[in-house]
């Protein structure tokens, strides 16, 4: 039964993708529904699968040998991923209804865009589901690659110049990431002769160069998870993608990078080499740098989705720091893991709700505006840890860190929450400035509200092991929730001061994508230098070809001269024979005289 469910979870998205193609050829464009209920249902079998218990499957015929598992880690992960995909799909039906009407009215561009999105959405989902249940390297890599490359269409959707830039940044970083992952996985798999992710974790511990392998994998998955320095695609891609696509990108797909880390890095293993522990410290610093840097940079953004993208980088920075503890202080890991999963799940749903909320503020339903904006801000408030699931997830991480006496890190994480809070308030403020009323339909706000509720009550439905989540004692509530008002205050004060200084304010024009502009400039310079070198090489090559040809011509000339000599000899054959005979006779005579 559960195996049937697994088959359904993997094959159903494929069937849905197939049905969109079928429809494109069978249904006339005027009556084509690109996002029917069937399309929304693509992720439902996966959602059911997440709640159906723990199982293992081994499939020998599959690639290098398939080994899939639903365990204490993959079940909650699949649950929040599939739930977010389902809600985003339902939201998409409403979000794209205007575009679909255009398509039905005969707009070719809209038809193309809808068709492309409807086809590649289920494929991206399939990749995401497969990478969660996969426990062997090949399936995991397959799921990761499928998700990464199919999501290109989600980013590119609108086809505008900004979307093309975002998609290019996304793809360029993704290719670099795939290369790093492939290199890391090959290195571990070759030295440990393993085909499973468990083997990779053990292989890194056992190998001499384990830290280098782990570094490659950390950076490779870090492209997706937005490690500082590799995060530049996030603020470029998120604002241009449609809201439901941003929701899954930021909620589900960047979590795939995190899952990658948990799957391949030897977290919480005793007896790690000093180099690995050092790598853990580097990760910790990088994570905290991202958590603070993204907040500092993100608050200056104008586009609410760019602000949210920086918020994702900041949140993933915190998660990076927590994962880093698995290497830097292995004894914490087993305590902190359920907290990390809960944190990730809550962030996925909350960030999903925030991104879906951006489309609500652009098409406001006829609700009282204070209520509407309170609801839009609510997942963000939860994200800062001030209430509901956010508070629980913060507490489950903090209590583990308390237990192992890492007060310094707790303090830094708390301060980072001020950044989160500031980002969320800036985002809501920007949404308020750019609000438009009308045009929202029931699918749109229904899915958004459901995501919001699901985010607030994450611990209730998330299939975590029993007893791994506890409610913080009342005495801790204040310590968990103070960053929120502080962050809001910071923004309000900043805005008030900024209003006076507006005329001189240059910082407001900080472009989204920060380091991307530096990278692309450097790359262009590098390419120019390469072109000069290539020109020089070409010249050398041409010169050597000319030289060889000249040499050949000279040689052939000598040969031909030889042939002339032969012809001359043929011509004067009789005379030469005579001369030869005379010489012979003379020789004989000389011999006779002696």
């Amino acid at each position: 039964m559960i195996t049937l469910l697994l088959l359904a979870a993997l094959l159903w998205p494929l069937c849905v993708a197939g049905s969109t193609v079928w429809q494109a050829y069978r249904t006339p464009a005027a009556s084509r529904d690109y996002f029917p209920l069937l399309w929304i249902s693509a992720s439902w079998p996966a959602l059911l699968l997440a709640f159906s218990g723990e199982v293992q499957w081994t499939i020998d015929a599959w690639m290098l040998g398939g080994y899939w598992e639903l365990n204490t880690l993959s079940r909650p992960w699949l649950a929040f991923t599939a739930l977010l995909w389902s809600l985003a799909a339902a939201h998409a039906r409403g979000y794209f209804s205007a575009e679909q009407r255009k398509a039905q009215a005969g707009d070719q561009g809209a038809q193309r865009r809808c068709q492309r999105l409807a086809l590649l959405w289920p494929l991206t989902l399939l990749g995401n589901v497969l990478l969660i249940i996969a426990q062997d390297i090949a399936s995991f890599y397959l799921g990761f690659a499928l998700m990464t490359f199919a999501a290109y269409a989600l980013v590119l959707h609108s086809g505008s110049n900004e979307a093309r830039l975002g998609a290019r940044a996304y793809l360029a970083l993704a290719v670099i990431g795939e290369g790093l992952i492939l290199g890391g996985l090959l290195w571990v798999a070759g030295s440990a002769e393993t085909l499973t992710l468990k083997g990779v974790r053990e292989g890194i511990v056992a190998a001499d160069d384990g830290a280098l392998m782990a570094l490659l994998l950390w950076l490779g998955f870090g492209v997706k998870a937005g490690v500082i320095g590799l995060h530049v695609w996030l603020p470029l891609a998120h604002p241009v993608a449609p809201a439901p696509a941003s929701a899954v990108l930021s909620g589900a797909m960047i979590k795939a990078g995190l899952l990658g880390w948990i799957n391949v890095l030897p977290l919480g293993v005793d007896g790690l080499s000093p180099a690995l522990i050092q790598l853990g410290n580097i990760m910790l610093v990088a994570g905290l740098a991202a958590a603070f840097g993204a907040a500092l940079y993100g608050v200056w953004q104008r586009h609410p989705k760019a602000v949210l993208a920086y918020s994702s980088i900041s949140q993933m920075g915190m998660l990076t720091a927590m994962v880093a503890m698995g290497l830097a202080a292995p004894d914490v890991w087993s305590l902190i893991l359920p907290g990390v999963v809960l944190f990730a799940a809550h962030h996925a749903l909350a960030k999903g709700a925030l991104f879906l909320g951006t489309s609500i503020s652009e098409h406001m339903p006829r609700w009282p505006q204070p209520l509407l904006f309170a609801l839009i801000a609510l997942p963000g408030v939860s994200l800062t840890g001030a209430l509901a699931a956010g508070m629980l997830s913060k507490w489950s991480v903090k209590s583990a860190l308390y237990e192992m006496h890492h007060e310094g890190l707790i303090m830094l994480l708390t301060w980072a929450a001020i950044g989160t809070s500031a980002l969320v308030s800036v985002c809501v403020w920007r949404q308020w400035q750019q609000r438009h009323s009308g045009g929202s339909d029931a699918f749109q706000w229904g899915a958004w509200l459901t995501a919001l509720i699901a985010a607030l009550v994450t611990p209730i439905w998330l299939p975590l092991p029993v007893g791994s989540v506890e409610v913080p004692p009342a005495s801790e509530w204040l310590s968990l929730s103070w960053p929120f008002p502080v962050g809001v205050m910071v923004v309000v004060v900043g805005v008030l001061i900024g209003a006076g200084w507006r005329r001189h304010a240059v910082v407001q024009t900080l472009p989204a994508g920060d380091l991307w502009w530096l990278y692309s400039d450097l790359t262009l310079r590098g390419l120019r230098a390469l072109r000069v070198i290539a020109r020089a090489c070409e010249k050398v090559k041409m010169a050597s070809v000319t030289f060889s040809l000249a040499l050949e011509r000279t040689l052939m000339g000598h040969l031909k001269r030889g042939l002339f000599a032969e012809a001359w000899m043929r011509h004067h054959g009789s005379g030469l024979m005579m001369a030869f005979a005379v010489i012979l006779a003379l020789l004989l005579m000389w011999e006779g005289l002696r």
């Binding site: 690639m63 290098l64 070719q108 290369g179 798999a189």
Partner: protein
Amino acid sequence: MNAAWLPLTTLAVSLVAAGVIFLLPEDARRLRTSINLLAAVSKIILVTLMVGRVSQGFEDTFSFQIVGGVEFVLRADALGVMFAGLSSLLWLCTTIYAIGYLEGAANRKRFFGFFSLCVASTLGIALAGNLFTFLIFYEMLTLSTYPLVVHSGTAKALAAGRVYLRYTLTGGVVLLLGVVLLYSLTGDHSFASERGLSPYLNDHRGLLTLIFALLVGGLAVKAAMVPLHGWLPRAMVAPAPVSALLHAVAVVKAGAFGILRVIYDLYGIELSVALGVTTVLAIAASITIIYGSLRAIAQQELKPRLAFSTISQVSYVILGVSLFGPFGTIGALAHLLHQGLMKVTLFFCAGNYAEELGIHRIDEMDGAGKRMPLTSLAFTVGALGMIGLPPIAGFITKWYLGVGAIQAQRYWVVAVLVASSTLNAIYFLPVLHRLWFREGPAHGKGEWPNEQCLGRMETHGWLLWPAVFTAVVSLGAGLLAGLPFSPLDWATRVAVGEYLP
């Protein structure tokens, strides 16, 4: 029990087909097509029989003494049958494709006659049991492909043909020199010799190295290793089915297969390592891989880009061999098959674009995915496979090569592999982007260079289905690599059964 008739009949099928086609009049189209297809199908059946025999442990041998000490030997061993299987499967696909491609063209008799001869020589190379037999078929391949390369008869084609002959005939002479030297040293040239060449190691180290250099140098011309690759991009003027066959099986692979034979059967992998030639070979292969990819990026036309991609990809086989380890060997052998399947798909698709829409340049491909969805899907599968993305066959080989490199402690090879994957992505992904994400003539912007509307579907069925079939096979070879008799399984069998160092 030795079924000597089996390798002989398999070889004879295409030879006889070639003979019959030359005898038929030019306009007997239907009969020629039937003979072509009949021969191709019966060859697949015969090769399947051989596969069965080999997997039961038989090694059917046909031998015939020409003069004292020089024998003509055909032997169906696992490695040879692997190559024979690839060539017979792709022969069928290419024949079907060629029939569609040359619909209504001139000189079809000449084309199909030499086409069959070319495949017969490939099969001969696969089944050759000693260097003498190998050399015969190797030269026959050179000569029988020349008329195919210059088929169109234009000045450019004739010039390309001349370059092709210069390169390959010179390579053949060098190879012959190596064979003669070897024969003068040992008096034996069988691939399956029991003693091998190791007894000569102590006394004739320099000579052995020289012979190796001559043999591999001669073969490397056909395998298009840098700097002996100059003929391959020029030979792109040939019709699409010929390019497909040249790249996927016949010429390029014959060179790579020859190098496999020299290293595994003639010298033995231990001896090659003891001579230190594998390191040189690995470096040469790596240079070829990177150089081919870099040049591919610079190409503006589709077929030359694919040609440079072939130069890069075929050297994976050489790289795998030179890694000296079971994983490298399996990767090399499997890549022989996988690269053939994927590259033939890409060339079929390139031919389809050229025939149906007149597309030759990459910047003309905008939006072609809408006009020709199945062809473009097949192209996508081939291109992603070349990059080495799962679940397509290319991933499997890249994986085995990488693991082999790690186990041989050659970490720079992994860097080469990753760099090559990235470079492959850099030159294939923009093409895919143009196919699927740009708007073009299919969306009402501009016009195709030369649109034909050859069939009821996106193009002529005979052109379309071979491409789709090979794409599906390359996908299946990766997705279900664990099944018995998959390319990976057979490569493992060859490596484990005969060559494990």
